[in-house]
Amino acid sequence: MSVAVQASPQSRLLLSGNDAIARGVWEAGARIATAYPGTPSTEILESLSLYPDLYAEWSVNEKVALEVAIGGAMSGARSFCAMKHVGMNVASDAFMTVTVAGVVGGLVIAVADDVGLSSSQNEQDSRYWGRFAHVPILEPADSQEAYEMAKYAFELSESYNTPVILRLTTRVCHVKAVVEVGERSPHAITGFTPDAKRWVMTPGNAKGRLPDQIAREGKLQTLAEASPFNRLEPGSDRRIGFITAGPAYMHVRESFPDAPVLKLGFTYPVPVALAEKLAGLADKIVVVEETEPLMERDLKAAGLKVHGKDLLPRLGELTPDILIPAIKGFLGDPVPPASAYPKFEPFPRPPTMCAACPHMGVYYSLARMRKKVQISGDIGCYTLGAGHPWNALDSTISMGASMGIALGMDKARSEETKDKAVIAVIGDSTFLHMGMQGLLDIVYNRGNVTALILDNRTTGMTGGQHHAGTGKGLKGGDAPRVDFVKLVEALGVKPERIRKIDPYMLPVVFKTIKEETEIAEPSVIITDRPCVLSEFYEKIKPYRVVDEDCTGCGNCVNVGCPAITVKRSESKVRADGKVNQLKFTTIDTAMCTGCHMCVESCGPKAIVPAQPIAAVQ
């Protein structure tokens, strides 16, 4: 990242899309940049935080992030906000009205769609927001375009008095490609000028602005037709012409080098006249877009005869291995075999928690009481509790949803489920993002829910970002730190129903959860151990298994620590004829950090401190 920060103009660098956007935003003279972490967008703000003369923050959620950026744009500062696709759902309330009000300083929102769901709960197409909010959409195909469009987006925003969406996908954000950078053009902050008709969106004021919003969309249509980001590339194989955007363009060009292509970068409003020109260069037109058929529908509505999702998948990436068979099949050309070699499919490697992850202590306990509890989960590393060996999560929908869903489960009990305890599990960052409101609802409506806040002092799943509960800010400096106990007490949880525990102390975890679930009122259990990958974690000395003392009971395996593996299995017939599967284990001392959760789980006390294997150098 620092390479891009220090790079002088005209340097040629290998940059990820995220780093390229950060450079473009900075060069555009942006003064305010905000985000809540979310894969694949996270690194944009991390990168921006390293540039001078720019205020950058981790916000508590995407809505607040956008609101801060809106405040900046109202005040005449070029302002930028980044988020993943589902973050835009959170931010959309502010977004759908700032589009009516407009901007003074340019307002650019980078929204990263996780096409193919590498790390998301759904796959959604953020280009819908352009149509929904009547704002332009720019779609880069690689790092160079991401950089250029990020710069241009601010000009576009100011010239047309509109927020601009920079629509990214994982294959832009997380692909490194060569970028030639430029220099920063400073933009002074003009300061806020009160103008109630413009900024106070009462029904009367907003109504007055709606016609402008619609007129703006028409002007943007004209602009898109002439945009240098939209270009017609003639080709010698006229059988099919492609209309495409984003990384899909690269896949199309790779797969069909001789085809005419309309390459779009300014993709909403759709430049229909350009598409008509392509129709003159090719017999048939295929729209290749990830993921929804949005341009396809707009073009069909304009009267063009185009193909699209009748030939191509509506989900996932449109890579050459998908495009080539689909298009060649359509043309009646022979479809080449994908590979000369077989596809071996060995065992899966599902993601798992890290060695000594404090979440394991909680899920080990929840797994022990599995039949007596319903567990409403949330978004974060602790979603892995749904997997092996814990299998201790019943739902995950959206950020903060563990709280409201738990309350709904509590209020909708059947004869069969009436005695089950309802538990909500959420992480610290997610609780501050959107969980607090749900807990308040539980308290206010007298829900019988035990909420577990797993405070590991970081935003773990996205790679360890600071938040309002870590005591540090985006740039690593000290920041005010939320006191979770005081916070939940202020929301109305009785002080005696707030328990703070060490998740490494397995018997305490089990006992505390059991006690709180037996009391029919809202309670909160806060676990307090830092993420093993965070700066706050302190390693202790590793442990080992004494072979002679191991009885093969397998309790330690159920902790779920990847440092513990089964080295030998054995079937043992019991006196009553039943067969016990014994699992004799070993601990990878290089991986073990000495959290001692497995020690707590071991009846025969076969796990003892190990001398660490002399760490070579």
């Binding site: 490609a177 990436e317 070699y341 596809k343 071996f344 599902p350 092996h388 060996p389 395996v557």
Partner: protein
């Protein structure tokens, strides 16, 4: 000049250094004036999952992903991962495989079986495999973290630029921050090259793009 693209797929598991190896390859390619794209699939890399990085370079690179059947070189940091990505190789491509077996919990618990001999499986399918224990070499050199440099050394003679350019890209990273590591990385790089040559045997080496 025709637009010959070199496709290198680096694979392994979270924490093995797959990303770093791919980054070094990509930076070397850029320093040689190639256009280059490097794509990462690592949603949950830190959490024990499967990790791959696609490195493509040439005069002009379009798609950032390597299609099945088109990889010139498969660099596998783990032996079962090598077999997982076998179909990515083009006919005549080579697989450079570290023979370490990293057994995930789902296997040690008995839910899935680890293949007995993934390399034999690949050879039976006709793949040219160079397999060796990079971990043992690294231990002999005194630092397990050298596996990365050893694997890069192993493919150094299969690339469209001289091996010492790749070596310089690696040791250049240490020269400023940890000068003490320069010499041992040079030795690791040479050991990797030697290991690949020794494993040539029946599998004749050839430059991937010739």
């Amino acid at each position: 000049m025709t637009n010959v693209i070199t496709n290198i797929l680096v694979c392994g598991t979270g924490g093995q250094g797959v990303m770093t190896a791919a980054e070094i390859l990509a930076q070397t390619a850029v320093s040689k004036g190639f256009d280059c794209k490097k794509s990462e699939v690592a949603g949950m890399a830190q959490r024990g999952g499967v990790v791959t990085s696609h490195v493509r370079f040439g005069k002009r690179v379009l798609s950032p992903v390597i299609s099945p059947g088109t990889a010139d070189i498969l660099v596998a940091f783990e032996v079962a991962e090598a077999s997982r990505w076998t179909d990515m190789l083009r006919p005549g491509g080579v697989a450079m495989v570290n023979t370490i077996r990293l057994v995930p919990p789902v296997v040690s618990m008995g839910l899935f079986k680890y293949p007995d001999d993934p390399v034999a499986q690949m050879r039976a399918a006709g793949v040219t495999v160079y397999d060796f224990d990079a971990g043992a070499i690294a231990r002999d050199l005194g630092d397990l973290r050298l596996v990365n440099t050893i694997m890069l050394g192993a493919i150094a003679d299969f690339l469209p630029f001289p091996a010492d350019e790749l070596e310089e890209q690696i040791v250049g990273r240490f020269r400023e921050r940890k000068p003490a590591m320069v010499e041992v990385n040079k030795r690791a790089f040479d050991a990797g090259r030697k290991a690949a040559r020794e494993r040539a045997g029946a599998d004749q080496p050839r430059a991937a793009n010739q």
